[in-house]
C-alpha cells in the first residue's frame, strides 16, 4: 500500500500482549478477570461474615477482624468487583453496538484498567501488612480519623480508592467521547441500543460524581497523613462534612452501578422475547431522569444526622420521585415480554428474575425514603436487606445475565445452558434466602455492623437461615466458575449470532470479533439495526465504505507502569511516618512516594513526546479473515 506513514509496530503475543493491549475487547476481558477475582474475594469475606453471625455469641472471628471483613466486603464489592465487571461489559459491547472499530482513547482505556487494578491491589495489600481498613465502606469521620483508627488500615482505603477512582474517571470520559464521536453512519442517538444508552448516562454520572470522592479522599488523607483538620472537630473541622462529600458521590454511585444493569436487562429481554423493546424512547428518558435525580438525593443517607425537617422533607420527596422513572422501566420490560415468544435461556432467566427482585428493593427504598419511618429503620438489618436487594438482586443478576448473553461474543464459545440454569436457581434461591429474612431481622431491631448478638433476642433462626442462603449463593458462583472452565475446553465455534435473534450490531460480526471489529463500517438504517435488516430480508448490514486498510493504535506498556508508579507512590506516602529519615529530616517514605510519582510523570512525558502513528491492517489480511469466517 502506498501509505505515507508505513510504520512497523511490534505486535506482541502472550503475556506482553495482555500487558500492552489497547484493544477494547481484550481490556474488557482483563476487567472481567480482575473484577471476577475481586468478586470472589468480596464473596469470601461475605461468607466469613455470615459464618460469624450464624449463631449468637459466636467467636469464629474476632471483633476487630469482623470490622475489617465488613469494611473490605463493602469496599471490594462496590469499587473492585461491581464497577470493573460493568466496565468489562461496556468495553466488550459498547464499541460493537455503535459500529465503532475502537474506543476514542485506546491508551486511556488501558490506563484506566491498570490504575483500577493497582488501586485494588493496594487496598488488599492491607490484609498482609497488619490490618485492613475497618471504619466501614463509608469511612465516616471521626471514626476514620487517626484518633480512632490509628493503624494504616484507613490509609489503604483512602489511597487505594483514590488510585482506583482515577481509573474509573478516565474510563468514564473515554466512553462518553466514544459514544458521542465514534458512532457508525446512521447510528443516531435515538437509534442507540439501550445498553449503550445506559453506559453513556453512567459515564456521565461517573464524570460528575467521582471528582467529589477524589476531594473527600484527599481531605481525609491530609487529615491522616499531614495532620489537617477537615473532619476533626478539635481542630475546627466538621465530621458531617465528610458525610455530605461522601454521599454526594455515593448516591450517584449506586445509579452508576444499576443503570448499566438496566441496559443489560433491556437487551436480553428484548432479544429473548423476539420483540422490539417496549417504549424505547421512554426508556431513554427514564434513564436520563434517574441519572439527573441521582444527584439530588444524597442526604437521604443522613436523615438521622439532624439536618432539620425542611431538608429531610425535600430529600425525602426527591428520593420518592425516582420511583417514577424506575417504574416506567419495570413496566416497559413487562410489556416487552407481553405477547413475545419468550425463550428462557440462562441469560433471560437472570433478566426475568431481576424484575421482581429489583421491584422489592425499590419498594423498600421508598419505605426508607420516608424520613420519619427511616428513624426506625436506620442502621438496622432492614437497610442491609434493602441495598443487597438492589445491588445483588439488581446489579449482580444483571451482570450474570450480561455475561451469559455476551459470553459467546467475548470468547467465541456459548456457556453450557444446563450449568447456567443450575447457577441461576442456586444463586437466585440463595439470594432470597439470605436477604429476604434480613428485612424482618431489621424490623425486630437487629442493628447492622455488629460483630455478634445475644441469645434470646429472637434473632437466632433468622440469622441461621440467612447464613444457609449465603452458602447457596457461594455454590451458585462455583457452578458459574465450573461452567467457565468447562466451556473454555470446548471448541471455539460460536456463530456470529448464536442466539439467532440478535437485534444489534455486535451480532453481525464474528464471535469473537477480529481486532478491527468491522471489516467495513456498517450503515445503520434504524433502531435495532441488525433486526431491521433481517426483517427486510437482508443477510447482513449494508456497508458504509469499501474494504480498505484499517488504522490501529499501537500497543503500549506505559499504562501498566503508570499504575505501578501510583501504587509505589501510595505505599511511600502512607508509610512516611514509619520508615524513618533518608537524610536529615527528609523522610524515606516521601522519597519512595516521589519516585513513584516520577514514574507516572515520566510515562506521561514519554506519551507526550513520542508520536503514536499506529499501524495499518492491510486489505489482504482483512480479506483473508472474511474468507476464513464466512
Amino acid at each position: 500500500m502506498a501509505h505515507a506513514h508505513t510504520h512497523t509496530v511490534k505486535r506482541y503475543s502472550g503475556l506482553m500482549d495482555w500487558l500492552t493491549t489497547v484493544d477494547h475487547k481484550k481490556i474488557g476481558i482483563l476487567y472481567m478477570i480482575a473484577g471476577g477475582f475481586f468478586f470472589l474475594v468480596g464473596g469470601l469475606e461475605a461468607i466469613l461474615i455470615r459464618v460469624q453471625l450464624w449463631k449468637p455469641l459466636n467467636n469464629f472471628v474476632s471483633a476487630d477482624t469482623y470490622n475489617e471483613l465488613l469494611t473490605m466486603h463493602g469496599t471490594t464489592m462496590i469499587f473492585l468487583a461491581a464497577m470493573p465487571l460493568l466496565f468489562a461489559l461496556m468495553n466488550a459491547v459498547v464499541p460493537l453496538q455503535i459500529g465503532a472499530r475502537d474506543v476514542a482513547f485506546p491508551f486511556v482505556n488501558s490506563l484506566g484498567f491498570w490504575t483500577f487494578l493497582f488501586g485494588g491491589v493496594l487496598l488488599n495489600v492491607s490484609w498482609f501488612t497488619g490490618g485492613a481498613p475497618d471504619a466501614g465502606w463509608t469511612s465516616y469521620a471521626p471514626l476514620a480519623g487517626t484518633t480512632y483508627s490509628g493503624d494504616h488500615g484507613v490509609d489503604y482505603y483512602v489511597l487505594g480508592l483514590q488510585i482506583a477512582g482515577i481509573g474509573t474517571l478516565i474510563g468514564g470520559i473515554n466512553f462518553l467521547v466514544t459514544i458521542i464521536n465514534m458512532r457508525a453512519p446512521g447510528m443516531t442517538f435515538m437509534r442507540m441500543p439501550m445498553f449503550t444508552w445506559t453506559a453513556f448516562i453512567t459515564s456521565a454520572l461517573i464524570l460528575f460524581a467521582f471528582p467529589a470522592l477524589a476531594v473527600g479522599l484527599a481531605a481525609l488523607m491530609f487529615d491522616r497523613l499531614f495532620d489537617a483538620n477537615f473532619f476533626d472537630p478539635s481542630g475546627g473541622g466538621n465530621a458531617v462534612l465528610w458525610e455530605h462529600i461522601f454521599w454526594i458521590f455515593g448516591h450517584p454511585e449506586v445509579y452508576i452501578l444499576i443503570l448499566p444493569a438496566f441496559g443489560v436487562i433491556s437487551e436480553v429481554i428484548s432479544t429473548f422475547s423476539r420483540k422490539r423493546l417496549f417504549g424505547y424512547s421512554s426508556m431513554v428518558f427514564a434513564t436520563i431522569l434517574i441519572g439527573f435525580l441521582g444527584f439530588m438525593v444524597w442526604a437521604h443517607h443522613m436523615f438521622t444526622v439532624g439536618l432539620g425537617p425542611v431538608a429531610n422533607a425535600l430529600f425525602s420527596i426527591a428520593t420518592m420521585l425516582i420511583a417514577v422513572p424506575t417504574g416506567i422501566k419495570i413496566f416497559n420490560w413487562l410489556f416487552t415480554m407481553w405477547g413475545g415468544s419468550i425463550k428462557f435461556t440462562t441469560a433471560n432467566l437472570f433478566a426475568v428474575g431481576f424484575i421482581p427482585t429489583f421491584v422489592m428493593g425499590g419498594v423498600t427504598g421508598v419505605m426508607l425514603a420516608a424520613a420519619p419511618a427511616d428513624f426506625q429503620y436506620h442502621d438496622s438489618y432492614f437497610v442491609v436487606a434493602h441495598f443487597h436487594y438492589v445491588i445483588v438482586g439488581g446489579l449482580i443478576l444483571g451482570i450474570f445475565s450480561g455475561l451469559h448473553y455476551w459470553w459467546p461474543k467475548m470468547f467465541g464459545r456459548v456457556l453450557n445452558e444446563g450449568l447456567g440454569k443450575l447457577t441461576f436457581w442456586t444463586f437466585f434461591i440463595g439470594f432470597h434466602l439470605t436477604f429476604f429474612i434480613q428485612h424482618f431481622l431489621g424490623l425486630l431491631g437487629m442493628p447492622r455492623r455488629i460483630w455478634t448478638y445475644l441469645d434470646g433476642l429472637g434473632f437466632n433462626e433468622m440469622n441461621m437461615i440467612s447464613t444457609v442462603g449465603a452458602f447457596l449463593m457461594g455454590f451458585g458462583t462455583i457452578f458459574f466458575l465450573l461452567n467457565v472452565v468447562i466451556t473454555a475446553f470446548k471448541p471455539q465455534n460460536a456463530p456470529a449470532d448464536p442466539w439467532e435473534d440478535g437485534r444489534t450490531l455486535e451480532w453481525t460480526i464474528p464471535s469473537p470479533p477480529p481486532e478491527y471489529n468491522f471489516a467495513q463500517t456498517p450503515l445503520v438504517r434504524g433502531y435495532d439495526a441488525y433486526w431491521k435488516e433481517k426483517t427486510d430480508g437482508h443477510k447482513g448490514m449494508t456497508p458504509a465504505e469499501p474494504i480498505g486498510p484499517i488504522h490501529m493504535p499501537s500497543p503500549s506498556i506505559l499504562p501498566f507502569f503508570m499504575g505501578l508508579g501510583l501504587f509505589i507512590a501510595g505505599l511511600g506516602f502512607m508509610y512516611s511516618h514509619d520508615w524513618g529519615n533518608l537524610f536529615g529530616s527528609f523522610k524515606t517514605g516521601y522519597a519512595v512516594g516521589i519516585v513513584g510519582l516520577l514514574i507516572v510523570f515520566g510515562c506521561m512525558f514519554l506519551r507526550s513526546v513520542i508520536d503514536d502513528h499506529g499501524f495499518h491492517i492491510e486489505e489482504e489480511e482483512i480479506l483473508r479473515d472474511l474468507g476464513g469466517k464466512a
Binding site: 465514534m182 467521582f210 491530609f222 483538620n229 499506529g614
Partner: protein, 205 residues
Amino acid sequence: MSAHSHVEGQLPHEPEKATLEGRNKVLGFWLFLGGETVLFGTLFSAFLALRHQVLDGPPAHELFQLPLVALATALLLTSSLTSVFAVHALHTNRVKALINWLIITVVLGAAFLGLEIYEFVHYVHEGHGFTTSAFSSSFYTLVGFHGAHVAFGICWITLIIIQLARKGLTVVTAPKVYVAGMYWHFIDVVWVFIFTVVYLMGKVV
C-alpha cells in the same frame, strides 16, 4: 486514516479539529474540565463550610493582603489573554508567534506561582500553617490545588513549546496546543472564584 488526510505540507483550517483524534481530544478535554469543575466545586464547598474555624490562628481579614493578591490576579488574567493570542496564532498558522505567546504565558504563570509561594511562606510566618485550624487546612488545600494545577500547566505548556519547536505545527501538535489553552483558561476561571470567595469575602468581617 484521517490522521494524514490533509494535503502534505498544508495545514487545514482549524488544525486542532481536522482529525478524529483531534476532535476526540478536544471533546474529551471539555468533559474532563466538567469533572474538574466538580472537583473545585467540592473544594470550595469544604472551604466555605470551614472558613470561620480559625481557632488560635490569624483570621482571614487580618491575614490577607489584597495588593499582593491583586497583582497575582492581574498576572494570571493577562496570561489567559496571551494564551488567546497563542491560539489565534495557531489558527493563522504562525508558528513563531505561537511559540512566543506560549512562552509569555508560561512566564506569567511562573510569576503568579512565585507570588503564591511567597504568599504562603509569609502566611506560615504569621502563624497560619497547614495544621493550624480547619480554616487553614481548607485554605491551603483549595488554593494549593489551584497552584498545583498552575505548576502542572507550566510544565505541560513548556513541553508543548519544545515539541512545537522541533516538530512544527501539525495536526498532531495543534490539538495539544488547543487543549492546553482550554486548561489554562479553566485554571484562570477557578482563580477568579478563589479571588472572590477566598480573598474578597475573607476581607468582609
